[in-house]
Symmetry: C2
Subunit: 401 residues, 2 copies
């Protein structure tokens, strides 16, 4: 790290972090970057308030999904004009999968794994039903993905980094295998974009989707993005054929004609307040080298694991021990993990819990220091050693954890 | 209007209207209500900034789509727990149509009209293709809808108020006719909700959808809403089966199980900044009686028509002359309508244009006065009488008009 170009003390100052809190949940919802509030205020007052409808042109609202797509493209190795923002990740998964299946009409298997985010699987289940149950959604254990691919494969649909364990798939290798079998690959980058170096071009992903409110810090409910490989962009049929994906949206023709390239993946009117927040949030990446982020993520993660394992013998590492096989989160298993997380939150250390027994801790170098890791692991060790978690108040379930 | 309860001078003060502008485009994008900026600021700083992930529970973010659904429900005659916010109107149209077709498996016709917003038709076209081209999307002239219904009808899918002409369908009568034939009815309320009294319960709509950024003033890209009649709520299959529509979204089960009632129409993570803006925007309705809004809308509209017809003989009324057959906008046809609208905007009167020749003027009593109508029609008459519109600068097309 001695020669790192990225100044992490400087990036930390770009966030308005809650006082008295060590925030280890940036893998679920990133914190508020400085400048976002001012930018959204400007969008509200100077744009919507003053320009009203004319803001679509004068403030450039109509182009924001494409403009921000290009900004995110630089973080995931996508060429200009191949990424667009909009909707939610679930909707973008549906679009990508529908388009991919349409490109492989003679194949019937969609392969995914149990490490995929459930909503991706749910959207696929809904799509399969819509398409008349002609397809099989094959869901295997993450370690069985490579050997579950065969000549029936239409689409490999995976999340690169497992939301529970942080386990990371080998995107280029699995994609190459899918391609060798004549299939297509869709990658969900929800826990990758902004977390580690991603290169959808070199990795030859056919489609990629992701969300912006985790490691990209766009705020609660920030829009999703979709990438379509340039070769497919004019071929992929948009199942959700909304007006802003039309070749001439403002001609109001009666029949749908898909727009050129990535534009056809647009659907309805984009959420301008959320896009404005995202635009300001992306400024934090301006002087950041993703290789530095990755190096520091591994350093902080290794420190976190070592200290938890030393201080909390009852916890079992759920993430891969090899840093190359992880994203940027560390998970531990414990039967009473829910209560431990509640006890941690009560002491200002925010992680989260995923059933049945996973405690998740996001490692986000842009705003986490070595001191944060040390302090968080001390508090965790104290909670475990004194069984502080074993109080009724920490066992009361809330809707979202 | 003598005994109207609603104080329209007071409601006008609830909006932060741009100075020097007469805004006749609230049917496209409502202006900024006072209180929205403060509310969004609070959501950014006090909720996201201070609570970060815990805002989903502590600030009630997770419940906003349902809470705001109930607030909108009161404006459209929907019972509590029958409306939910999310996504865009195009997505909600797709959900409603997919669910309705699934409830009528033996029928093959979707009937709509040329007055429907193109995106509704585009989404239907995409859905029909997805379902294997087993259905016919029959699109007739608005006046032919009633006689185009027959025993093949699966779903009647209409926008109550025509986005170009303001013509209004008779929702209860057409719905009753569809029901008599064993079909279902989906109503798009994009130009109805907040514009005139709507009663989806009395009108027996099976599904209704709408957007919030027009007459409900939620700001650019505000989320859409969907209503499902209580009888159908536990039967309708959600085609877009995202995690927040799951019966137990935070159990992260591998298989989708549709949630109870309207919850199943939720898809992905809701856009909290846009929902916060909507929540504040809905406060303007607190002391408003929709019958008063309707009476004043008709009064202002009649005044607008009379003055335009008196001052601009070259313009042809495109809206129905009978106020009962209109929504809350007035449209005129003119071959050079685009240039006239640009000339109007240059003089601070904001209306908009829809190809090929329609000039649209939204009549929004909450913030428009008699003086606004008089002044706008004077400026329009001057532009027409002096042919001010016939300058090259007014003929240059922009992306959004």
């Amino acid at each position: 790290m001695a020669f790192a170009m990225t100044d992490f003390d400087a990036t930390r100052r770009l966030f308005d972090l809650p006082r008295g809190v060590i925030y280890l949940d940036g893998n679920s919802l990133g914190p508020l970057p400085r400048g976002v509030t001012e930018r959204v205020h400007r969008t509200l007052c100077d744009e919507w308030g003053r320009m009203v409808i004319t803001g679509w042109n004068r403030a450039g609202w109509i182009d924001m999904p494409r403009h921000l797509g290009d900004r995110i493209g630089t973080l995931i190795g996508a060429a200009p004009d191949t990424v667009v923002l909009g909707d939610t990740l679930s909707i973008k998964v549906y679009q990508a999968l529908a388009a991919a299946l349409d490109m492989r009409p003679d194949r019937r298997v969609i392969l995914s794994d149990t490490g995929n985010f459930p909503s991706d699987l749910y959207m696929a289940q809904g799509l399969v039903k819509m398409l008349g149950d002609r397809h099989e959604l094959r869901v295997v254990a993450p370690e069985d993905v490579a050997r579950a691919m065969d000549g029936d494969l239409a689409v490999l649909m995976l999340t690169e980094v497992d939301y529970r364990t942080g386990r990371r798939h080998d995107m280029p290798a699995l994609t190459a295998q899918a391609h060798d079998l004549g299939a297509l690959a869709i990658w969900d980058l929800a826990h990758s974009a902004g977390a580690l170096p991603v290169d959808v071009t070199a990795g030859k992903a056919d489609f990629a989707v992701g969300c912006t409110y985790k490691y990209l810090n766009s705020g609660p409910g920030g829009p999703a993005f979709i990438y379509v490989a340039p070769d497919h962009a004019d071929v992929a049929t948009p199942a959700l054929s909304g007006w802003l994906g039309h070749a001439a949206p403002f001609d109001f023709e009666p029949g749908y004609r898909a727009g050129a390239g990535i534009d056809r993946m647009r659907v309805g009117t984009p959420p301008i307040l959320q896009l404005a927040a995202l635009d300001a949030a992306l400024n934090v990446w301006e002087d950041v080298d993703m290789a530095d982020v990755r190096a520091r993520s591994i350093e902080l993660s290794e420190r976190f694991i070592a200290r938890v394992e030393a201080g909390c013998p009852d916890l079992t590492l759920a993430s891969p021990r090899d840093p190359d096989r992880r994203g940027s989160q560390i998970s531990f298993r414990f039967a009473h993990g829910y209560a431990v997380i509640q006890a941690l939150i009560a002491e200002g250390v925010i992680g989260d819990f995923r059933a049945p027994d996973i405690m998740r801790f996001g490692i986000t170098p842009l705003y986490l220091s070595h001191d944060d890791i040390d302090r968080a692991t001390e508090i965790l060790a104290d909670i475990m050693q004194t069984r502080k978690w074993d109080q009724p108040v920490f066992h009361t379930r809330q809707t979202v954890t």
